[in-house]
Symmetry: C2
Subunit: 215 residues, 2 copies
DNA sequence: CTAATAGTGTCTCTGAGACACTATTTG
DNA sequence: CAAATAGTGTCTCAGAGACACTATTAG
């Protein structure tokens, strides 16, 4: 049996698009957001690849990160499918944009990180990757608005100052320390441990609390 | 010049997936959420279609709604790309799920509307369409949480009772009328007009306010 | 001691929820 | 008049922001 679409054409008669995945990996460095980019024949671009036959999108995205940028084990999620037929000169290519956030020390030292300015890459990217980056930044901001550190940009344990620096980089403005502390205390819990910096009173180390208590 | 991927294969050598679009159209009827479904060879399913060569996803989704369900002129947005290689027995088919909301009176009288119970279709759907519906319901709820009527489920003018009924259907629980009124007054503005129902004091008609004042 | 950083007490403002009240219509 | 629906006054509670205060370290 051959399945046909509404126009009576067999499925296999349809020219099909190539499907790609691209991943916008964001990180926090020097108090600001940065984006992982790779250089290729089209200039600076997000790490990406074409979907292999039968492959899952998540697997393709992980493969792109590994092969193009040398990073592994990142969590990411879908942002949107970019579908302008003219978005790629090579032909009809749809690309599923993914967003990810990861601590800068987990990226290879050779990784090229460009600044995020005004929710965009400071250096222009190939294809429609600039739009993907803006979507990734907005998505990151939305997910950090109501949680402490959902993407584990910090390690298991962290001080409230470290957590606040991460949030400030993501929202792009300074946050009041007292309000921030009280707001976060519903999402994190103190270990008894103290850690001392160069000067001043030692800070307590906190850890994330599992899930939302209302879920 | 022939572009190749990281494995050195030419792009055109890749077997490519079929790409489909599916649309979860939600509406409010009799105080509850309903879903527009169509009957096909696989049973009840969301209206959908295969992407035609060079076509935009939005155009394909609009075409599916027109051809499969007889509805036009709906706004929708992307929910996610469903990519399980085994999701469709006919072969390798990726499907971009879209969500939409539209007033029930704008749907054809013959449209089949199934109830939404517990964020799912009361009747099971083909493929992975049940998952798409749940995503659409959550998306709808998120977008109505901070706005009056972003998808224009009501007409230009409406009473606060009508608006509250819509929100109650979407969040799935009754809402207190006084709090709801005060919360909505930042998103809507009163016309001077009054409208009288069967009994009781006439209600004022309101309209949506353009955009968020903080944007 | 001072400088520096961590953390708290408290006031104000705003918004949600609860509850009772007033206002305006039909019959 | 009673019934029904629209809309308001007001109290309480919770959370955000502002500001000043206390606490604990290094030197």
């Amino acid at each position: 049996m051959v399945w046909t679409d509404a126009q009576g054409r067999a499925l296999t008669d349809h020219p099909r698009p190539s499907v790609a995945v691209d991943v916008a990996v964001l990180t926090v460095l020097d108090g600001g957001l940065r984006l992982l980019v790779v250089d290729g024949p089209f200039g600076r671009a997000l790490p990406g690849t074409f979907l292999h036959p039968g492959e899952r999108l998540a697997d393709a995205a992980a493969r792109a990160l590994r092969d193009k940028a040398g990073v592994g084990d990142l969590a990411f999620h879908q942002l949107g499918l970019y579908d302008d037929p003219a978005r790629d000169d090579r032909g009809w290519v749809l690309s599923m944009a993914h967003g990810s956030a990861s601590p800068s020390h987990s990226l290879p030292p050779t990784a090229e990180l460009v600044e995020i300015v005004d929710d965009r890459s400071a250096l222009p990217l190939a294809f429609d990757h600039d739009d993907m980056v803006t979507a990734a930044v907005h998505d990151l901001r939305a997910r950090y608005a109501d949680d402490a550190d959902p993407d584990a940009l910090l390690g298991d344990r962290f001080t409230l100052l470290e957590l606040r620096r991460v949030h400030e980089a993501i929202v792009g403005r300074p946050l009041p320390k007292d309000t921030f502390r009280r707001r976060m205390l519903t999402h994190i819990e103190g270990t008894g441990e103290l850690v001392t910096a160069d000067a001043g009173r030692p800070a307590e180390l906190f850890r994330r609390i599992r899930a939302h208590p209302d879920a």
